[in-house]
């Protein structure tokens, strides 16, 4: 019985994954054949790449794109500090709050940071621990509609607090960031598995006791640039171990011709495989993996090859059905293209086009956020990204 409840709750968490962005209501049942499926990373000759800059760098003040940030705030951050996911019924979630806080630190925008953090703690820290309830729905009573956490949201908020503490030296940020970081390491990390440090996507619903194919991981919850920095508030945690395991799993979890990872992966058994009951897709979650890799400056060519091939698609970016290699959803919002631009900067030293730093009107929260994150990453690490 408990299992059924757990399973039901899991389906609820994940059937509505944060990034099953319901922004394409128009019927798109027919799958476009894979005429332009990503070049098979298997077939691609092994190549070497320039060693990336993997230093642990501070985030504060690196988002040097004031106009894009102003536009972002006006479109997605309310006066009370709520970051709105415009494509998902105007809900908010710990991930969005974390991104908002990070971008505010990167923009050196303390008033906005305090607003977003103030909203976040006042509305999402309703669990009985130091983690955040992941979803907040306006107009619902109560507005917190799920008490489970989303580990990436916790990681992002803790990281943003650690960066804020370093940039502005406010004691309260350091203490709050530490409490969250220590708690997420305590409750959601399996440090001593044969695969290394497994990061559970949430406290409930993903572990070996919760699912027959558990534990489940979501590689886009391995926020590499965050792990490299969280030791400033929680040095006793083996963040390097998390980075290493994330890299190892990215190398191991390559499915289908595209050799891309699925959003949700089971690590039970000998080899990782797409988790049961989830779409077998490289989708809205996983597209952040190359962003985080490049942002942290970690990984080798073998970690990047499949993402690089995906980013080079001449038909434009899309989510990928890993069984057929076909496109699932076209990623038409141009904000997503910032990932490809960032990869080109990092791997090939190609300069970015001038509009890399311009936020497009009308694009939704997720694409716009990814674009600003990519700009930040490029400013932090890749001089080659300066417009040519």
């Amino acid at each position: 019985m408990r299992f059924i409840v757990l399973l039901a709750s899991l389906v609820a968490v994940c059937a509505l994954p944060l990034h099953a962005r319901a922004q394409t209501p128009q019927p798109q049942a027919q799958k476009i054949p894979a005429v332009d499926a990503p070049a098979s990373a298997q077939g691609e000759p092994a190549r070497t790449m320039r060693k990336l800059d993997g230093r642990s760098l501070p985030l504060g003040g690196t988002l040097n794109a004031p106009q894009a940030w102003q536009a972002y705030k006006q479109r997605f951050v309310t006066q009370s500090g709520r970051v709105i996911d415009t494509a998902n019924g105007q809900i908010s979630h710990s991930e969005g709050q974390g991104y908002g806080m990070l971008l505010a630190v990167a923009a050196n925008d303390r008033p906005t940071f305090e607003r977003i953090w103030g909203w976040t703690r006042a509305n999402l820290m309703v669990r009985d621990d130091q983690l955040l309830a992941w979803r907040w729905t306006p107009g619902q009573r109560p507005a917190v509609t799920d008490m489970n956490n989303a580990t990436d949201g916790d990681v992002l908020v803790a990281w943003a607090l650690a960066e804020a503490a370093e940039l502005w030296a406010d004691a309260s940020h350091r203490a709050s960031g530490r409490r969250i970081a220590v708690e997420l390491a305590r409750k959601t990390v399996l440090f001593k598995t044969p695969r290394g440090a497994i990061l559970l996507p949430g406290v409930l619903g993903f572990s070996a006791s919760d699912r027959p194919d558990g534990p489940i991981i979501n590689l886009s919850y391995y926020v590499f640039p965050a792990f490299a920095r969280l030791s400033s508030v929680a040095p006793e945690v083996d963040w390097r171990g998390l980075i290493q395991t994330g890299l190892d799993q990215i190398r191991a979890a390559r499915f289908g011709d595209s050799q891309l990872p699925a959003d949700w992966i089971t690590v039970r058994g000998d080899a990782p495989r797409p988790a049961d009951g989830f779409p077998r897709q490289f989708s809205y979650n996983a597209i952040r993996i190359p962003l985080y890799l490049a942002w942290a400056g970690v990984g080798d060519w073998e970690h990047y090859a499949a993402f690089h091939a995906w980013a080079q698609r001449t038909r434009g970016l899309a989510t990928i059905n890993l069984d057929t290699g076909a496109e699932a959803d076209r990623l038409t919002e141009r904000g997503y293209g910032a990932i490809a631009t960032l990869l080109a900067c990092a791997l090939e030293q190609k300069p970015a086009s001038p509009d890399f730093r311009t936020l497009r009107d009308g694009e939704h929260y997720y694409a716009a956020t990814i674009q600003l994150l990519a700009i930040t990453a490029a400013n932090m690490r890749y001089n080659s990204c300066q417009p040519g």
């Binding site: 951050v77 309310t78 050196n108 303390r110 305090e114």
Partner: protein, 829 residues
Amino acid sequence: MPARLTRLLLVSASAVAITGAHAQTPATHGFLVEAPQQPSPAGRAVGPSQKEAAPVPAPQPQRRAPALAIKPIDAEEGGPDETALRYYAAQNQTRRVALEIERLQRLYPYWRPPETLVEPASTSSEDEQPLWDLFGADRMDELRAAIELRQKQEPDWRPSKDLTDKIARKELRLRLMGMWRAGQLNDIIAAVRQDGYGGDRADIDLQWTVAETYARMKQTGEALDIYRSILRTAPDPKDRIATIQKAMDTMRMSEVEKLLVEARIDEAGRSDLAPLAIDITRARISAYLHDERPEPVPAAEVRTFEAYARGVNDANQSGLVAWHHLKNRQYSEALEWFKLALERGGDAMVAHGLAHVLREKGMLREAEEVAFAWREPLANNAILYIDVLEAQLTNPVPPYVEPERLARYAQVTVDLASGEGAQALGWYAYNTCQFEAAYEWFQRAVAWYPKETTVVGLMLASQKLKRTKDFFELANRYDGLFPKALALLFPDGYQRPPSPCDLLASGRVAPAATRALAPQPAPVHAAPRHFGASPPPAAGMASQHWAPQSWGQHLLPVANDQLPKFARGEFPAAVELENHRRFASSGKLMGRPAASAAPPAAQTALRMEQPAPAQLVARRVQGVSAMPYERWGFSLLPGANGQTAADAPHSAQVAPAGTAWASEGAAAANAPAFVDPHQAMQAIASASRAPLPPAPRVAPGQAGVLMRNAALGGDGVDMTPTASIPDDPLADAPAVLRDSLRAREFVRDDEDAPDLAARAHRFEHSRREDMEAFAADWRPRLSRLLSKSPPGAQDTCPPGQDPSPWCEPGANELEQELAQEPANAEIEQ
């Protein structure tokens, strides 16, 4: 050019004539390059200068080489490392050659010494000197070119095998070292797989490099093989020690242990790795502290290390011993060692350990002082300080705390904007009958840390202060989320004894008399709750967080257990579901702000939000147990995931196996503590003499401002506490929200209205003064509600489309809710 004497040309089966001393030969040169060298940083290139650094024993006059076995050995065949042997032979060191042969035969019983220890010189070797010079200078491109040129000039000429072999090796070495410097570890492994690296015949730097590459790439088996091979073959003890050091730097200690068995023990029983003993113990202790080593470090070893740590004036060493004792729960020893480490200049982390030990020993007062003193350099200590005193302040019968201690606790709480500290002060104030202060602190706690117990605290304080509006606003906001908050509205049907403060207030008990009270009879334990999926005691919730309910461990059923009645607008009522409480920290700096390259961002407008219409009926939430009113048959709407039944509370969740949380075990779960009534009476006495907690400072003129109205701009963040609940929570709300809420009240007033259309009609005419605003905001929507399907109307906006009169998020929910109205209205009756 310094002449080298040794030129061993030929070793025959019987005897060998040493034909003479010649100038430097290729063979000799080669041996030197391959000779074992001093430990050096990995990645170092071997250049000519290092030939001089190689240990070159003084050549001994030697006319005869030893008799050697017949079978020549093929260099490519593998087998033991003959480098040293050949080196000694080249140096004519017969005794060492014999010893080396003996050693190799001991290690490799089937090995036979090579017939020739020195290759015959190429006939052209003398002519190759310029080439060897290029080789020695690592000028490999020029060397290749020179060979090519000479082959063109002398078609019959071939470079010696010695030279070609060594060129190949050196090129591989240079390539691998280049990759190492570029951090291309994968490429090193690929190259080694394809071309090899010379195995134990490679120079030791290269072996270390390849081993470290494997170790970093988590291929520990391969790394261990290389390290082990060095340990078995390297003749120089320094190299062996350096090998262990390198392994300790790059691998977990559990792997390094597999290498330590290679130690060579001499007749006196002394290990050749003895110089590393302290380092090894240190690494073992460290592994034990990090849970990488399950078994304890041998006691004798620890004692040796302790003696060492005591002798060196290094806080890190004594600190390590202290942490080791703390891990083993040897608190007295840990205390002594932490003190020693602090005396020796230990840092804030050492102080942190000291505070932990003091807490474990029950020396809370001392722990508090240490953590407070070291709070600024290290956030861990500030947090520990908050937590140590929190446990005491939230005790239902709080201990006496001096006013100055309370004051500094309050200051640190505001410095850290600590919800934990704020709720602790709130409970302390509440349990000592200081409700105004309790209210203020709970306000902050709800802004910083809106846990269930914190919200309950604010509701209780509001109740005591007759701030009914706050009380019901919180009840409505957390309806569906916090059962214990709702339990204040819907009691569970059991009587509870009055709290000490209630008794004091009623005048029935005088503080002075309390000590004379007779002990109460043995308590009757609570009957189990009799309705709903009542949660078990929440794991991790300290009883002190739940002080008021703790009185209720001795329960009698209430005689007249009826559904409570509320006035209209109390419950259920539509309130804003966003928590707008905000309080800034004091802005206390911890360290210096980083100088940011970017200027502070300009302040521009943020998004104006149109609040969605609030609801009256709660939905199920995952991880939340039943609401107390469910025992009267009321239900909740299905949750976002469709669930209709209450969940087990998330606080009762089982820790996922493998997490640190799971290993902490059930001991951490704090069930609500039993509170003895006699103890409760004692609390009355302490309540009457408890110091006042300092009230948080509110800047004049700032109270009552909603965050969303706080002025933007200025140089820095506004550090003034910015919010409490305004008199009218809707006063600042946009017209749409205001009207929607008032409209709802109107509708509920008029239960007799026959249909929705009539209600809406009457609503439209009832508020003439707001008609203009109303018309703009509501008429289109109302007409949609009336007509049900106006042309082109959509219930909900397509995802991504901004709300408009014809599509509003939640517009359909309004209808749904109106339809549900009668069910809820019963609560009010």
